[in-house]
């Protein structure tokens, strides 16, 4: 058992202040990630899973985003209370993030090798402890330095199992396939040996056979580079295949979380149950799907009580009146529903 937690999010609330009113995208979320743990945040579009990821790493555009309350404790330090300069030291080196579309994360006019080199140089300069030196370092490299850096670049490409790394390092992003680009992104972010990798829909743009390879790679690398992963995904099946723990989000809140085996073998929240019933398995002659009725709520006009109540088969008067808290049901399995009090 590794109980040392890398990340502790404590009652975090984040809102977007729009002309039409404030929207609470993350609403009182508490979660923790231990070292060497892969935690999946699952939910449909608009549930706040991406905002959660961005707010942990401090990449939310502000305005319109605004932290309302709560803490993001990373290795015992509250990131939200750090001055921007200090936060930058952590971002990219201690906490890294990769996104859905790797093409937009890579610079189209620089070779893959050069972009990896930049990441490595950043790590080295930060290792010496000051941000200011980083720019001065950008001079031509000495000969020995150059070959050492080249070796580091190749190491990164080898780490993410890219065949023929010497050739790939000289390519531009557009010359690589989607799967290769995402591998490069994973390599670049892990080159910093971060303690936490936030992966926002890393395989959604990829084909299934490529997705399988990339997920397998990520899972394998957790041990190699000593990192934890927060996987943000819309796909419950992907979460069930790779995560240690899973948190299900709905309209900005975690409605249920727990060990992946518990959560999938006995889902407690009606929303989780509904989502699982929505995944087609077997043919129409077997059982017909029982979809959740209605659609995800407009965050501008959220119901007062349980946010899922209008779509819930078991909703009572009480659900409409007051919001159920996320409570421990059994072990580490938590659920926010009056059915399980």
């Amino acid at each position: 058992m590794q109980d040392k937690s890398v990340l502790d999010v404590n009652e975090l609330s984040v809102a977007y202040e729009l002309k039409t009113g404030a929207v609470r995208a993350v609403d009182n979320v508490s979660m923790s990630i231990r070292s060497h743990e892969l935690v999946a945040a699952v939910g449909e579009s608009g549930c706040g899973k991406t905002t959660l990821g961005l707010s942990i790493i401090g990449l939310l555009p502000s305005p319109p985003a605004k932290y309302i309350s709560g803490e993001v404790n990373f290795k015992g330090k509250n990131l939200l209370s750090l001055p921007p300069d200090e936060l930058r030291l952590h971002r990219g080196t201690e906490i890294a993030m990769i996104f859905q579309e790797p093409m937009t994360s890579l610079n189209p006019v620089f070779r893959i090798g050069d972009q990896i080199q930049e990441a490595i140089r950043l790590r080295n300069s930060r290792g010496k402890g000051s941000m200011g030196n980083e720019r001065n370092k950008r001079g031509p490299l000495s000969r020995t330095g150059a070959s050492a850096t080249r070796k580091q670049i190749i190491d990164v490409l080898n780490l993410v199992r890219i065949p023929d790394p010497d050739r790939i390092a000289n390519r531009y992003p557009f010359e690589l396939s989607g799967g290769m680009r995402q591998r490069v992104m994973i390599g670049m972010s892990l080159a910093q040996k971060p303690s936490l990798l936030i992966a926002d829909e890393p395989t959604t743009a990829l084909d299934v056979t490529t997705q399988a390879q990339v997920l397998k790679l990520m899972r394998g690398l957790m041990e190699d580079v000593d990192t934890s992963i927060l996987l943000i995904t819309h796909d419950l099946a992907v979460a069930s295949q790779v995560a240690d723990r899973t948190a299900v989000m709905y309209a900005g809140q975690i409605v249920e979380d727990g060990d992946v085996l518990d959560l999938f073998s006995s889902p407690l929240h009606p929303y989780t149950q509904g989502l699982l019933a929505c995944i087609p398995s077997g043919s129409k002659e077997g059982m017909k799907l029982r979809p959740i009725q209605g659609s995800t709520p407009d965050l501008r006009s959220i119901p007062a009580g349980c946010k899922f109540a209008p779509r819930c088969l078991y909703a009572t008067k009480r659900c409409e009146a007051a919001k159920p808290e996320l409570r421990v049901k059994e072990g580490s399995h938590r659920v926010a529903c009056y059915l399980h009090e």
Binding site: E44, S45, S177, G179, M180, D207, V208, T209, T210, Q211, A212, Q213, L215, K216, R219, H234, D235, L236, A237, V238, S240, Q241, V242, A243, V260, L261, F264, S265, G274, L275, L276, A277, C278, I279, P280, S281, G282, S283, K284, E285, K288, L289, R290, P291, I292, Q293, S295, T296
Partner: protein
Amino acid sequence: MRATSTSEEQPLLQVEDLAVYFDIGGSFSVSLLTRRIAYVKAVDGVSVDVGVGETVAVVGESGCGKSTLARAVLGLVESKRGSIRIQGRDKATLRHSKDRFKIIQMVFQDPDSSLDPTMKVKDTVSEPLVGLSSMNKNDREKIAIEVLDAVGLDSKFLDRLPRQLSGGQKQRVNIARAIVTEPSLVILDEPTSALDASVQAQILNLLLDLQEKYSLSYLIITHNISVAEYLSDRTYVMYAGKVVEHGPTKAVIKEPRHPYTIALIASAPVPDPKERNLLKVEIVGEVPSVINPPPGCRFHPRCPYAEQKCSSQEPALEPIGPERFAACYFIDKIARTTGKAFA
């Protein structure tokens, strides 16, 4: 649920040896000098048929040619060779016939870009009826209201614009527009891929209900094996412009025979943490470019069973069981070892 499994009956849609090439010739001067034009061989010798009342799925990954196949059937892209017959008539003769909208319709993947942002829901849905008969505007609207009701949109949606609809509602409008003429065949190109899980399930059930109510036949293009399994009677698996395996959906998914089908099914995640197949998948590499596809069997560079022969000579689709076909030299060998290579 197949209305026709007898072979003597004429299929509704019959595609034979279809090829669609896109010219990417590069510069004019280069092609003059070298006298060579480069092609993207998006679909390269594909035969597919759909029976009356049947649902046929075409599955494969991006670039396999499944969407191009659908567009060729609808006449949105020119074919290089091959024939497309619908209800026994050649597609070319259909082109200018008045009743073509009554024969074949399509629902596209992106519910947003396939709707005119300035048209009200009722106008979008009734438009295909214009020119079909001597119906006046009121009659057309009446039918549109009926069909919208059938797809689960009540009268309050009639005067709405696309931007006032959610993704799922937009796709319902698209489906209503496709079925308003009561066509024989509806082509569904990734009908639920842009939708959230809960909305996807609603649309899948809707498609089944509508099929029963309007006796539709479906040709479904999807990358999602479980969508194909849920909706279809027969499945074609495409890889790099070719069909590599086809047969009754249940059989293809339960006992895949072509090494690519085996890999594809093993790679599709199932929501069960007790069966972590995904992390055991052994497939390597990625889908090849169809500009310069590998010689021989197009899957051979990624195939664990590949031998010398596979890289030089292309295997043909051969019968491998009741109504089942696959294009691989080692089907018998694979049948004996299935499940060991990839999962």
